[in-house]
């Protein structure tokens, strides 16, 4: 055995804040090496990737557009993960929300339906996301089926369901055979906030959601229950908190936020339903949740940072012919470092020299 872990008696807050920063620094260093390997100047590449998008107003807007769904999904997931409930099907709940809301947009397309359409779409998306997330939650509570596996499987069911709708019944007859619905009517779309940018009012909704969840988590009994069940499940059981109810609750809330993020994405920046509405937001949001240390403010920062990697990657592809795949490499490595640094908070790692021989008792 080479490594040995010892649980730390107390966890310092300073390390808690420092750890994601260290993780980001290590990732940047690793990526710089990668740039050098593929024959690009690391300094120039890092500049194009991480600095230039911040200085250009249009790119900055695009980052905010990308950060909106990431933050909204991640804040819901953080509730689950704090309570030690493993919803990894956010991508599926996102798609289902987008589909449910789009249903109304498709049905009212070209009619003189009024301004009630958009709010109704948002409500539909939220409800559908919550209901879809309740499937793995109920399977878990009622039958004991692992929510990790069921929620993951349901992602693909949702994807194929949406694929069927946009290629089949909902396809725009005037769409030149592209698998998209007709563009949504103005009453079914979220207006942009500024002229010449795609930043839309969904971003404000996301900020509101983050504040609500932060208050719920820090100032209500339910939030206390979530934190307690996650930190000390036995103690929570003795104090009469119902763990099953919590599984249902956290899944429903996070599913609702995923669904809302889905319909906002479709009604906002995209404007119609198509098969690839998400570049894996539901999975990237898991990175956001962990990088933000499951903390609302941390998630805001982490969401912005992950969105920056998407936009920086696109810019670097155009400016320096860096393959777009590097963004995924970057995100994967980042999550590795974040998780490893988190482990350093909980444990002290010791290198052990010499081999202690393990002898089976009955040998």
């Amino acid at each position: 055995m080479l490594l040995a872990l010892e649980r730390r008696a107390e966890r310092s807050t300073a390390i808690g804040i420092a750890s994601p920063v260290i993780a980001v620094a290590l990732t940047l260093a690793t990526v710089a090496v990668l740039f050098a390997i593929i024959g690009k100047n690391p300094i120039e590449a890092l500049d194009v990737y991480f600095l230039e998008p911040l200085l250009d107003p249009f790119s900055l807007g695009e980052i905010v557009v990308k950060a909106t769904p990431l933050v909204m999904i991640a804040i819901g997931l953080s509730l689950c993960y704090i309570a030690n409930v493993w919803n990894i099907g956010a991508e599926g709940q996102f798609l289902v929300g987008a589909v449910a809301g789009s249903w109304l947009a498709v049905r009212t397309n070209g009619t003189d339906a009024g301004y009630w359409v958009l709010p109704a779409m948002l409500v539909l998306g939220t409800l559908a996301g919550a209901l879809y997330a309740l499937i793995p939650a109920i399977c878990k509570v009622r039958f004991g089926a692992s929510e990790i596996l069921t929620s993951l499987m349901l992602v693909y069911v949702a994807y194929y369901g949406m694929d069927y709708l946009v290629r089949g019944p909902w396809r725009d007859p005037k769409g030149l055979n592209f698998p998209t619905t007709a563009p949504f009517d103005p009453v079914a779309t979220l207006p942009p906030l500024f002229e010449g940018s795609r930043v839309h009012s969904g971003t404000l909704i996301a900020l509101m959601v983050v504040m609500l969840i932060a208050v719920m988590l820090g100032r209500t009994i339910m939030g206390f229950e979530i934190r307690l069940v996650g930190a000390a499940p036995k103690a929570a059981g003795f104090s009469g908190f119902n763990a099953d109810r919590l599984v249902l609750f956290t899944f429903a809330i996070s599913g609702a936020l995923d669904g809302l993020a889905g319909i906002i994405e479709v009604a906002g920046p995209i404007g119609y339903l198509q098969p690839d509405i998400s570049p894996g937001y539901g999975f990237t949001a898991i990175i956001v949740a962990f990088l933000g240390r499951l903390n609302p403010i941390g998630i805001l920062i982490a969401g912005f940072f992950l969105a920056l990697t998407f936009i920086g990657g696109e810019n670097a592809e155009i400016a320096m012919k860096v393959p777009l795949d590097l963004t995924k490499v970057f995100q994967g490595i980042l999550l590795f470092y974040v998780l490893a640094c988190d482990s350093m908070i909980a444990y002290r790692v010791r290198l052990i020299r010499g081999v202690r021989k393990a002898v089976p008792a009955n040998a």
């Binding site: 649980r7 004991g144 990790i148 994967g332 444990y347």
Partner: protein, 316 residues
């Protein structure tokens, strides 16, 4: 309707259909075999898709450079195992959450394979040779099915039989299962829980890498980024669908393989079944099976491995 049904039956019992299903099922069986061993040791590695696509990219690159299927397959195995080593270091060495690490592995693998494979897109290699036995391969119907496959197909069956023998007929297999059923007791008995799990994870990675390498080496003679196309997730579903049993895994792999193939041909028959329904069937079936086996926990003892995905830190 009857006519279409007749057409489907005719299709299912045709030699060509069986040959196609074998090629569709082999990567699923290979990848799922490895994941089965890892999960039976108590480790849930959600990075199968990432390890597979790395196996495909590195396997193809090596085969192209060396002009040898064997070198390609070996490099595929190594690439998968190397990815698994990262996973093992984090989840076993640093006690990091397995779910998140597995997802990170898939994201990383998808990206890295794109970088590695970018220089090889559009190249062609000689596909893996198929067995040819003078009289036997020429036999009607069964000849090509039994005696005309490539080495991957035969190996996939040897592998799963080997795994079955290992798990249920050897002492080491018993220890592997014990480590999963109760890692605290296994540790107390003096078994090196983390070392056993590490070997199981590396084995799983090697199998996933080989499964990925099968695609450009035998299925199509070229590499396309993202060519695993979700097969890693299906393999993951398959292990659950088979309720962690090797025998059921073979049946499941061929069932899922047949379904993925049928989705293409059902479209042509005009039965009105959307292909997306067929595509989502493996995932739906897995959810249903998982619910069923979780319900009957205890009665048949076939529920999920007891400490699957649970972090273990040995006390000293």
């Amino acid at each position: 309707m009857l006519d279409a049904l007749g057409q489907i039956l005719g299709l299912i019992f045709s030699v060509n259909f069986i040959l196609t299903v074998i090629t569709a099922s082999t990567p699923l069986l290979l990848a799922a075999s490895g994941e089965l061993v890892a999960e039976r040791s108590g480790v849930l590695n959600l990075g199968v898709e990432g390890m597979m696509i790395m196996g495909a990219a590195c396997g193809f690159a090596a085969a192209y450079v060396s002009d040898s299927t064997i070198v390609g397959a070996l490099c595929g195995i190594l690439a998968g195992a190397a990815m698994a080593a990262i996973f093992a270091f984090l989840t076993l060495g640093l006690a990091v959450n397995q779910v998140a690490t597995g997802l990170a592995l898939t994201i990383l693998g998808t990206g890295l394979s794109g970088l590695i494979g970018a220089g090889f897109v559009g190249m062609r290699i000689t596909p893996a040779p198929q067995l040819y036995l003078p009289v036997l391969t020429g036999l009607p119907v069964v000849g090509r099915i039994l005696f005309g496959q490539d080495a991957f197909v035969y190996f996939s069956f040897a592998l799963i039989i080997g795994i079955w023998l290992f798990l249920y007929r050897t002492r080491s297999g018993l220890i592997l299962r014990a480590v999963c059923d109760n890692h605290v007791s296994a540790h107390a008995l003096g078994y090196p829980v983390l070392k056993i799990r590490m070997l199981a994870v590396l084995f799983g990675g090697g199998c996933a890498g080989l499964a990925g390498a099968f695609l450009p080496l035998a299925y199509t003679p070229f590499f396309i980024p993202g060519m695993t196309a979700g097969r890693g997730w299906i393999a993951l579903a398959l292990v659950v669908f088979a309720s962690w049993r090797p025998g059921r895994l073979v049946a499941g792999a061929y069932l899922f393989g047949a379904v993925t193939f049928l989705q293409l041909s059902v479209q042509g028959l005009g039965l009105g079944i959307p292909p997306q329904v067929m595509s989502s069937l493996p995932y739906l079936a897995t959810v249903v099976v998982l619910v069923l086996i979780s319900r009957t926990r205890g009665a048949s003892g076939s529920a999920a491995p007891a400490s699957l995905g649970v972090v273990f830190v040995p006390d000293r």
